[in-house]
């Protein structure tokens, strides 16, 4: 589905990605993990050419993005969804408008537009928030709007750049469930960049470990499943004291 051939990218004199080749299969949830500065976000951003590689080829969905002209690239990007750590919603647009804009960009027929927006918002469980502005939503809700926006045009691929890194653990788990649903229901290929091991282990079936701009190894794993959402106060106490290192005061 996504293939990188000897892709390199440097910023000023810093070599962010050094001749990376990677192939991501159709329908999988692929994780990318590594230390800060290992190049994982850059690698993801190369997949829709938000970063243009200095060398090498990027192929997505049978199209070699690096050979396309501006117009063709914009067209190709419409079937590559992307979500970000900081959501990047338009704060002056309502939830509805934020999703609708991606349909407008893709020239989705005006008639079915509102129907499609509602469908996507329903999928992420935000039907009743249509007329709210992002400032009125929690972090998890904002990210779900971003997912709805990315899904609206029925993408083949969904790129996720640290999607849960600014969310608390419970909200993270909810969000990962949504991503997993998308993968199972629509067969969307998902690529997740994260520095959190739990996130990667819970839903990914293949994981690429990055180190200093290179692929260290790609391993196949059995997704461990998303942890049970537990937020009762006694659970927190138990977690804090279970190693027996701390006694009750």
């Amino acid at each position: 589905m996504i293939t990188l051939h000897n892709v390199s990218k440097s910023f000023l004199r810093f070599q962010a990605i050094q001749s990376v080749s990677l192939s991501i299969k159709k329908g999988e949830i692929h994780g990318i993990i590594g230390a800060s500065g290992a190049g994982k976000s850059t690698l993801l951003r190369l997949m829709n050419l938000l970063e243009v590689p200095d060398e090498g080829e990027v192929e997505v969905n049978g199209q070699t993005l690096t050979n396309l002209n501006g117009k063709q690239l914009r067209q190709a990007r419409k079937s590559i969804g992307m979500i970000f750590q900081h959501f990047n919603l338009v704060a002056n647009k309502t939830v509805f408008e934020n999703v609708a804009v991606s349909l407008k960009l893709a020239k989705f027929p005006r008639k079915g537009r509102s129907e499609r927006v509602k469908e996507c918002l329903q999928f992420v469980g935000l039907s009743s928030f249509m007329d709210k502005y992002p400032a009125q939503l929690s972090g998890g809700q904002k990210q779900r709007v971003a997912i709805a926006r990315a899904l609206a045009n029925n993408p083949q691929v969904l790129l996720c750049d640290e999607p849960t890194s600014s969310l608390d653990p419970n909200t993270s788990a909810e969000l990962l469930t949504v991503l997993q649903d998308i993968n199972r229901t629509f067969g969307v290929t998902i690529v997740i960049v994260s520095h959190e091991m739990d996130v990667i282990k819970s839903i990914c079936s293949r994981v690429t470990v990055m180190n200093e701009g290179q692929v260290f190894e790609t391993v196949s794993i059995e997704p461990k499943g998303i942890g049970i959402i537990e937020n009762s106060p006694s659970f927190f106490v138990e977690q804090l004291t279970k190693d027996g290192e701390m006694g009750h005061a």
Binding site: R77, A91, N92, L105
Partner: protein, 220 residues
């Protein structure tokens, strides 16, 4: 109403009209030319989507030069240009030329600043969705920066009113010119005070409207 205002009613009304013409043309120039210039300034900056050092440097230099002139000198300096453009350098219409030029330089700088406040991630998300540069500008940048654009225009309009008061030097007329000729030079201090009051009311009204509108459209 004070007698002196009734006595000069016709002159006062026509000077108000002249001010409105001069400021109105300046606002039009600011929006029609200043807004695109400011947008270009922003887009051509380092790290932005149309990064272009030459275009940026040229626009930046233009804006800085115009804004570094003491306005009175700019008006005099532009006389040949004004004459070339509309055939005369005297009168209200001629006065709109230097005013429009300062208006473009003034507002474009404020536009650039407002656009810089738009989070970079929003532009990135737009590009990732396949937006063209045009769509990034109209569907994302202007939407996100709209309250800053309105506040900037409000500040600009108030400056234009201030600039318009000295257009008497090229026969542009206006409230400021009236206040100086009748109020100051003919020692009618009360008349000058009334003119100042009119200006204060005008500025208060514009600032109030601008602030209210910008607050209403700001959902961030």
């Amino acid at each position: 109403m004070p007698d002196i205002l009734l006595q000069y009613q016709a002159e006062i009304l026509s000077s108000i009209e002249e001010t409105f013409i001069m400021v109105g043309v300046s606002i039009a120039a600011a929006v029609i030319i200043g807004l695109p210039v400011g947008t270009w300034l922003f887009l051509c900056r380092k790290g932005q989507i149309y990064e272009n050092r030459i275009v940026f440097s040229v626009l930046n230099l233009f804006v800085n030069i115009i804004r570094s002139f003491p306005f009175l000198l700019l008006v005099v300096f532009l006389i040949p240009f004004t004459r070339m453009l509309i055939g005369t350098a005297i009168g209200t219409t001629a006065a709109t030329v230097p005013l429009s030029i300062i208006a473009i330089a003034h507002y474009s700088r404020l536009v650039e600043q407002s656009l810089l406040d738009v989070p970079k991630g929003v532009i990135e998300a737009a590009i990732a969705m396949g937006a063209s540069v045009r769509q990034v500008i109209f569907k994302f940048l202007y939407v996100e920066a709209r309250s800053g654009l309105v506040l900037g225009l409000t500040t600009s309009i108030i400056s234009f009113i201030s600039y318009s008061t000295i257009m008497g030097v090229v026969g542009g007329g206006g409230i400021g010119d009236f206040a100086i000729r009748y109020g100051y030079q003919q020692f009618k201090t009360d008349l000058m005070m009334y003119m100042i009051i009119i200006m204060v009311i005008l500025v208060q009204f514009i600032q109030f409207t601008g602030t209210t509108v910008s607050r209403m459209i700001d959902k961030r």
